[in-house]
Amino acid sequence: MPNPAVQLDRITKRFDKNVAVDQLSLNVPPACIYGLLGPNGAGKSTSIRMMMHIQVPDEGTVRLFGEDGKTGRDHSARIGYLPEERGLYQKMRVLDVIVFLAEMKGVERRTARIKALEWLDRLGLGDRSMRRVNELSKGMQQKVQVISTLIHDPDLLVLDEPFSGLDPVNAQVLKDEVLDLKQRGKTILLSTHIMEQAEQLCDGVCIIARGKKLVDGPLAEVKRTHGGRHVHVAFDGAAGDAERLFADPKLVKEKESTGQYAELELAQNADAQDILKGLVNSGARLAKFELAEPSLNKIFVDLVGPEAAVAAAQPEAK
């Protein structure tokens, strides 16, 4: 198995008496999009800053690309980082800003210039390269930020709330770039509190709240293990066989049936495919067979909800 791109081993960070991140462990497999999910203040940004070695964990270790003893800063040439709060040098020329930030990533100046111009052309800012940053619209500045994050063709992309504040056009630009990078075998770690985005993009997720991990793993697995598994069925004929099938406690835990339509919650270890087979064998004509998985949002609310309620009930309980 290839080395995980990011491996956090029980990292903890305290600010004053506040535990921002508490014993967080996770593995981000290579060549995938991984979502770090959590409500505001869950410790997502702090975790990311520790990956980048902007902040040093009080306990625990961060391993990047499977290499021991090298920090995010040592690997900075291979990492593109877009922090949650973004800004640029307002008085610098667009091209100079991008070249400077590329140099910080270890790109040679001349190469950086050529690449920057290519990127600017590609994102439709070719004629703005000599303008000052503060002469650009907000959307254009966001493009410049995206360019300066991607210009050194990083193997690992760390995006903190990448879509917050982006206008729809730039959000799409970034989404396309992210998917393209994944195609090319790069790893993308992004944090977000918007579950619909994570559900669309991510292969793996980790949900944290109050600095603690609640669940992590591949998205499908998280969906399978959390929340009930539901099957919605609509059919014609073979009503008796179907009734018998749905009554099997090994397959169905609960059912709500109206004769021709049923909503089933699967029993533990049951496979929805067995129900499908049973129905087909019984001769029923299927109009609908849907595996109604819970949305990530539902899992998130189920998991975080009570946790957040506890947090509100006992603030600063240490």
């Binding site: 800053r49 980048m52 070695h53 902007i54 902040q55 995010g72 800063r73 900075s76 990492i79 980082y81 922090p83 709060e85 973004r86 800004g87 640029l88 040098y89 307002q90 008085k91 610098m92 100079d96 400077f100 930030l101 140099e103 910080m104 990533k105 270890g106 100046r109 300066s148």
Partner: protein, 417 residues
């Protein structure tokens, strides 16, 4: 290393591209030129004064004085003494029909006493002229009484005095006059103060810009905070050296052009401000202490920028640092009188004040070289210590948002490894 260089280059190029850099580059020599030309102009243009001489002497001293006065500078009329003449003359002076009046009596010859009342008694040229005339008349009368021939007295007065003052350094005459060393010390003090403050604040606003725009987060994910701070200080320092280079070249040019600029060197020689001759070692001392002072103060200003989250906060937080600098600037005036007093020596040893105090002492008087060496060593130690503390504040501060830390929190920042 390449990254630090990129930071240095960015700081340098962005600053040199800014308008204010060239404004300063132009204003510096202009100020320099003004200090050179204006005193000369002022002296050259001292206007003609009209005075009255109230002569209550018995030997016609008033007329003799009127003869001695250079009529291109002071013109006089004779007024007979009377009981209320002084009062009425004061009215005339108040009405600006007369610049002033001179009250003389026989006491001038006997005890040298005379009185000059005028609307402006601080004009060196006028006072010198009147005093000279009084002195010559009194002396002439006294010599005549002693039986000296009038013609002989006239010949005696023909001598033109021209005393030159020359500073001695290391047993050699330096060709510097007292006025020149004074102006040199004064100039160096002012330039050091302005430059250290200006460029220190530059470092601060640069730190603040990166902090408020949050670029700093991207930067410190690739370079160490200390490298970032170092690159910034070096970059801004390079800008200041470039500025000095421009000033130096422009200053030399202005100096060589001074006769064409209308500053008559002989007129300027009476002015307390003079364009000094800057020797190589003076230049080196200046540069060494400027760089030292700049590093010391810019490290502090960087820490201030890092602990503030906006311009207003920074402006408040930088006050203690600026005060230190202002203190060393103000103390310069006390030092100019006696550059080797305990007070001056102490200030030139303390790293926070030595960047201004030592060059001022150096320019004002001859210094033992070992004092300079001790002071420089102390300065370097001071820089290392201050930078160590500042770097720790900087490292934590640049990532902090929210309220400014109190002293207790600052201490904790410094202590956290």
């Amino acid at each position: 290393m390449n990254k630090i260089f990129a930071i240095v280059r960015r700081e340098f190029i962005e600053r040199v591209r800014q308008r204010w850099f060239w404004v300063m580059a132009l204003l510096g020599p202009l100020l320099f030129g003004a200090l050179m030309v204006i005193p000369a102009l002022l002296i050259g243009s001292a206007s003609l004064k009209h005075i009255a001489i109230v002569d209550s002497s018995t030997q016609g001293l008033g007329k003799a004085i009127a003869l001695q006065l250079d009529t291109s500078k002071v013109q006089s009329v004779q007024v007979l003494p009377g009981p209320r003449v002084a009062d009425s003359l004061m009215q005339v002076v108040s009405a600006k029909q007369l610049d002033g009046f001179l009250l003389i009596s026989d006491a001038l010859v006997d005890s040298g006493k005379a009185e000059y009342r005028a609307s402006n008694v601080s004009s060196f040229t006028t006072n010198n002229e009147i005093e000279g005339a009084l002195r010559r008349v009194a002396t002439t009368v006294r010599l005549t009484r002693e039986g000296v021939d009038q013609a002989a007295i006239g010949r005696a007065y023909k001598v033109q005095l021209d005393m030159q003052t020359t500073k001695i350094a290391n047993g050699k005459a330096t060709g510097e006059s007292a006025a020149q060393s004074f102006s040199l010390a004064y100039f160096m003090g002012i330039i050091l103060y302005i430059a250290i403050l200006l460029y220190g604040i530059n470092v601060m606003s640069s730190v603040l810009e990166e902090k408020t725009t949050r670029i700093v987060e991207v930067l410190v994910s690739s370079v160490k905070p200390f490298e970032l701070m170092l690159g910034k200080v070096i970059g801004v320092g390079a800008v200041s050296l470039f500025q000095f280079l421009i000033w130096g070249v422009a200053g030399r040019w202005l100096f060589s052009m001074r006769s064409k600029l209308g500053a008559d060197p002989s007129a300027a020689s009476q002015s307390p401000f003079q364009v000094p001759h800057v020797s190589l070692d003076t230049g080196l001392i200046f540069l060494a202490y400027f760089l030292g002072g700049f590093m010391l103060y810019s490290a502090m200003f960087a820490a201030v920028g890092a602990m503030s989250s906006n311009e207003q906060e920074a402006r408040q937080a930088q006050q203690p640092v600026s005060m230190l600098l202002i203190l060393s600037y103000i103390s310069m005036f006390g030092m100019l009188n006696d550059p080797n007093s305990t007070y001056a020596v102490t200030l030139s040893m303390i790293p926070f004040t030595s960047p201004i105090a030592m060059p001022v002492r150096w320019a004002a008087g001859n210094l033992p070289i070992h004092e300079v060496i001790i002071s420089l060593v102390l300065l370097v130690i001071g820089i290392l210590a201050v930078t160590w503390v500042a770097a720790r504040i900087y490292r934590v501060g640049i990532l902090m948002t929210g309220k400014r830390p109190n002293p207790k929190e600052l201490l904790r920042w410094i202590r956290t490894a």
